[in-house]
């Protein structure tokens, strides 16, 4: 009776009225589910599908840059208008429809209830609504390719007047649909974020105190709060831009007394915290993986937590470094230079704490661990190159060059792909009850990491040589066609093709393991956190033996008083060991 009661303790909240193990139809189970795990999968698979779209767009426009004017296999000739639409779609899709849904919505939905030991989210139907709105937003974005004038081509930052006036952007409907899609997507994440924070506040397993919550859950929560506190001004700006596009107001139109730079402030007030919204969950994933695979307690749990909160607060005071050359007051640029350089301190600190965790551990180089280690290395490169751009003097030279592109790809690729691959390979046995193939996993890892560096190191070099971004055909700019420059562009494009080809290995491994993989036990990695206490895959209600009680922190590996080198959170035991 008791176990049954646990599993269905919140039947009202779920909207299910059956009892016992009801057989749900396909639609109810996979498409209309209120189960947090299923919603997590919906977000994950939608995100993966959108990543294919993002990858296809970058393939088309990188081919145009390396071999201008050719007919790209699978796409055809890339016209100038196509080029703008492809670049814009690549940026928007990768950030709004890949990084955010997979890192926060998919992993947050899947992991939070399992890791804090409860049966579902607090608001399961709100959760379902969140995914449905997200799906509509993706459909609206894709639909914008098929309207008059084609998809929006004003870059993912959508600066007016280009985005506000159809006579400049030439996409009267595409720009409005783009804005609508982004707005819908924000509504979806707002609902999701409300759910995450409320669930972690009110539904933790008995005994789970503040410092017993796994770092990845903390990171998703801090990221959700950052998102909700920063998205308001952008929504305000989006409404104003929509009015400018459709109703003829002049909020951003200098001819009508408006101010185009105002949009940049509203956009980046969201846009910069957004970087940390996706960074923090990635950092959390890495923390989980390196503790498990170095069999060591996380070095300085509380430091990581407070550092993440500090990073979040500081991230609200750096946005104007995107406007150093937009005509802002140089005194203000000085202040934002200082805050921008300051924010590198907490982020570097987190990386150092992770390295300290590795020190002296018995490191196991499994596929997820390789990804986690690669994250630290590659992300540090992204962070270090950010220093050049944060200093307002150097930024005057580097602004709008490929140096900027290489910099933010060295941050976003580790976040949106390296950390996600780490998470998928690590939690795959829990998610689907099967092991992934390790050989294919390592092949995919090395193929991806090596080709990734071959794409973006050439772009750093090009950027340092002054290669301007947002150019469709470099043959029109003799200054940018100096000896060697086109060769570097071709090198980057070829490396991109290799990188894309290696993703086929991942997809093949994913699908093969899903059906034919070796069956996974409940706790294949000997990890401590609560999700490994649930069966693999966890059934509806997560913990068929009853909701767990927590007795210690999440990172008690290699504890001296214990024979096993791990000590799961739910096992009753002696005195709680000291934290920190």
């Amino acid at each position: 009776m008791s176990a049954e009661a646990h599993a269905h303790g919140h039947a009202d909240g779920h909207g299910h009225h059956g009892h016992g193990h009801h057989d749900e139809g396909f639609i109810k189970k996979y498409l209309w589910s209120t189960d947090h795990k299923m919603i997590g999968f919906q977000y994950m698979f939608t995100g993966m599908a959108m990543a294919l779209l993002g990858g296809f767009t970058v393939y088309a426009f990188r081919m145009q840059l390396a071999f201008p004017g050719i007919s790209v296999p699978g796409y055809g000739r890339v016209t100038a208008t196509d080029y703008n639409a492809l670049v814009t779609t690549h940026g928007s899709v990768m950030i709004f429809w890949v990084a955010m849904p997979v890192l926060i919505a998919a992993l947050g939905n899947y992991l939070i209830p399992l890791m804090i030991g409860c049966d579902d989210m607090v608001f399961p139907r709100l959760n379902r609504l969140s995914y449905q709105i997200f799906l509509i937003s993706a459909i609206v974005l894709i639909a914008s390719f098929y309207v008059d004038g084609g998809a929006f081509g004003g870059a993912w930052t959508s600066y007016p007047p280009l985005s506000a006036k159809a006579e400049f952007s030439l996409t009267p409907k595409g720009s409005t649909l783009w804005l609508l899609a982004v707005a819908l997507e924000f509504v979806a994440f707002l609902l999701g974020g409300i759910n995450f924070v409320t669930t972690v506040m009110n539904s933790r397993a008995p005994g789970m105190k503040m410092f017993d919550v796994p770092i990845v859950v903390w990171m998703i929560i801090i990221a959700s709060i950052l998102f909700m506190a920063s998205v308001g001004p952008l929504v305000a700006g989006a409404v104003m831009l929509l009015f400018d596009q459709q109703l003829g107001t002049g909020f951003f139109d200098p001819a009508k007394g408006g101010d185009p730079v105002l949009w940049q402030h509203l956009f980046w007030f969201f846009g910069h915290p957004e970087v940390y919204v996706v960074l923090l969950p990635a950092m959390g994933i890495v923390a989980e993986i390196i503790t498990v695979f170095s069999r060591k307690k996380l070095f300085a749990y509380k430091t990581v937590l407070y550092t993440a909160i500090g990073t979040g607060v500081l991230s609200f005071f750096v946005w104007a470094h995107h406007q150093f050359i937009a005509g802002i007051d140089p005194r203000m640029a000085n202040i934002f230079s200082v805050t921008t350089l300051l924010i590198s301190i907490p982020v570097a600190e987190m990386c150092f704490v992770y390295i300290a965790t590795l020190y002296g551990g018995s490191i196991r180089l499994t596929t997820p661990m390789l990804w986690a280690l690669a994250f630290i290395g590659e992300f540090l490169l992204g962070g270090v190159t950010g220093i050049f751009l944060g200093a307002s003097g150097a930024d005057i030279y580097f602004h709008d060059t490929y140096f900027v592109i290489a910099h933010f790809h060295y941050t976003f690729f580790p976040i949106a792909f390296i950390a996600v691959f780490a998470a998928v390979t690590y939690w795959f046995p829990k998610m689907f009850g099967k092991h992934m193939n390790d050989t294919l996993g390592k092949m995919h890892f090395w193929g991806t990491i090596i080709s990734f560096n071959f794409i973006f190191i050439p772009l750093f070099v090009l950027g340092a040589r002054g290669d301007h971004r947002r150019i469709y055909d470099y043959r029109h700019f003799p200054d940018l066609m100096k000896p060697g420059m086109q060769d570097l562009r071709i090198l980057a494009t070829v490396a991109l093709l290799v990188l894309l080809a290696f993703q086929v290995v991942f997809l093949a491994n994913f699908i093969y393991s899903l059906f034919k993989g070796r069956k996974a036990e409940a706790n294949p990695w000997n990890a401590n956190t609560l999700e490994w206490h649930a069966p693999s895959p966890p059934p509806h209600g997560n913990f068929p033996e009853g909701l767990p009680t927590v007795h210690r922190g999440p990172y008690e590996y290699s504890h001296p008083d214990r024979q096993d080198d791990f000590w799961p959170q739910h096992l009753a035991g002696d005195a709680r060991s000291a934290q920190s």
């Binding site: 139907r125 974020g193 998205v231």
Partner: protein
């Protein structure tokens, strides 16, 4: 907010002792939503303030545009603040289990509806005097900010009306009522700031 049953209250006997939430889930969820909403209004109001502050000499107040009726709007402001106060009284009597609670909710609803009605009359007057969304920056920002607040007031009135109906039917589940209250206090307390920043 419809699934806003306080977490744990429906758990059957025999489940382990759940922690008692410090803040009920419905209120916490609404509060987080309110934080996002506050930042939304902060974005619009600061954009308006900057736009005013950077206006060229002689271009503000906008020539040829009517002044906003700051004095007449004081009445609307009083109606809305009173509505908030009545709702606080409703909350207190709900806590005591008094049957007065539902009538106080109705009172708060009527005062809130009065506010929205008075605002509508003001808009009609301003529109007839030539202040429209496209006539000037003042008009654009005025209708944007005040209109967004009005949309929120209407949403909150719907939520408050639903909780009145559920109280009338004798519901004692506080989820919807507390969530609606949280949102209504947000609408009420936001208004004086808009009034001070936009009308003067």
């Amino acid at each position: 907010m419809i699934d806003a049953l306080p977490h744990g209250t429906q758990a059957p006997l025999g489940s382990p002792a759940k922690r008692r939430p410090v803040v009920p889930s419905a209120v916490l969820g609404t509060l987080i939503f309110v934080v996002a909403e506050v930042m939304f209004f902060v974005g619009m109001i600061s954009a308006f303030t900057i736009s005013k502050a950077t206006a060229l000499p002689g271009s503000w107040p906008v020539p040829g545009q009517p002044m906003l009726p700051a004095d007449a709007t004081a009445l609307n402001t009083v109606a809305l603040l009173l509505s908030g106060a009545v709702l606080v009284a409703a909350h207190v009597s709900f806590r005591k289990g008094s049957p007065m609670a539902k009538w106080l909710v109705l009172g708060a609803w009527v005062l809130g509806a009065l506010f929205v009605g008075l605002q509508g009359r003001e808009w009609a007057a301003l529109l007839s005097q030539g202040l429209t969304l496209t006539s000037s920056r003042l008009g654009a920002f005025f209708y944007l900010i005040v209109g967004t607040h009005a949309v929120h007031a209407l949403m909150a009135l719907v939520a408050l009306g639903l909780s009145f109906v559920s109280l009338l039917r004798g519901s004692t589940s506080p989820g919807l009522f507390f969530g609606a209250q949280t949102f209504w206090y947000f609408v009420v307390l936001l208004w004086p700031i808009i009034y001070a920043r936009v009308y003067f």
